[in-house]
Amino acid sequence: MTAAAASVSFPTIPAAYRMFRVTGQILNDSNVNTVTFQLNGDSGSNYDNQRLQVNATTVDAARTTGQTSGFIFNGGNNIDDSESGSFQIHLVKQQTTDEAIAVVTTAYMDNQGTSAIRKTDYNVIWKNTDALISQINIIKGSGNFAVNTMILLEGNRA
């Protein structure tokens, strides 16, 4: 990104694409907040998230259903101010009658590096079975993604 922005959108994805990989490094501004994703602009309560987080030797899990987005950095793993975090999402929706399934892996430093690195994974189900994926939005909860944030979208056609 050459300018700060609150979201990154990949619109008008042809319906032939059914499998995706999204890779990114988020550079944060001074706002501590979430990074999530929405598909096809759907902000309804259609996203179920299952988290696995590892903080040193502590492993914990949490399931949150009926959310308005899929989680990347969320809750216990918000990106703190002026910190960066990297992620990779594998996403598939093969046909309209199926739910979309995403596997999310993230790397980030907690509390501006004064605490050590944590790992968080999510499995996300998008329960909207109406449409194939035509849009992917990566969204900052508040504030902006800073300059030099980079997000790569790759897709495989059916």
């Binding site: 890779t23 990779q88 690195i117 980079m150």
Partner: protein, 168 residues
């Protein structure tokens, strides 16, 4: 021709004989690196470490999670000399190993980060899941070199690695 934002195949190395490491050198314009690693089996146990820019200083942190049958465990290492992608235990003799990972560093002056997407190996009749993320706190330079090193014993012939990169 430079392909901005398009993954490009940088190189693939397939070992014709034993070797202690697999090394890739590439331009600094690559800011996202994707690597697939296959380690062929031989009679020796070995650990596998990833380093950037030949930096073997205490600049690598990583957080691991592994699942071995019904046991889930985590491990955090800070100030290491590389990312040990076989943190759970070393790669056992006579077993194959596969790993896929991604390293991102969008600009100089920030940390590079590792997302170790998938890693598993058979230990006897068992299969172990391991996943790891990491941070390289050497902020001065963009990445121009990546080494995959066997910290004990050599990689066997037919071990292979492919590296892909995305330019900005």
């Amino acid at each position: 021709m430079s392909l901005i934002g398009v993954p490009e195949h940088i190189a693939t190395t397939v070992l014709s004989g034993t070797a202690g490491s697999i090394r890739f050198d590439f331009p600094a314009s690559y800011r996202i690196l994707m690597c697939d690693v296959y380690i062929a089996n031989d009679a020796n146990d070995k650990d596998v470490t990833v380093t950037l820019n030949n930096d073997t200083g205490s600049n690598y942190d990583y957080q691991d999670v592994s699942v071995d049958a019904g046991s889930v465990s985590g491990a955090r290492v800070t100030g290491a000399a590389g990312w040990l992608i076989t943190t759970h235990e070393d790669f056992d003799a006579s077993q194959d190993y596969y790993a896929a990972f991604c390293v991102a560093k969008s600009t100089s002056g920030i940390d590079a980060q590792l997302v170790h997407q998938i890693s598993y190996r058979g230990v006897g009749d068992e299969i172990v899941y391991e996943s790891l993320i990491g941070q390289w706190s050497n902020t001065a330079n963009l990445i121009t070199r990546l080494d995959i090193t066997a910290s004990s014993n050599n990689f066997a012939a037919a071990s292979a690695a492919s590296l892909w990169g995305v330019r900005l």
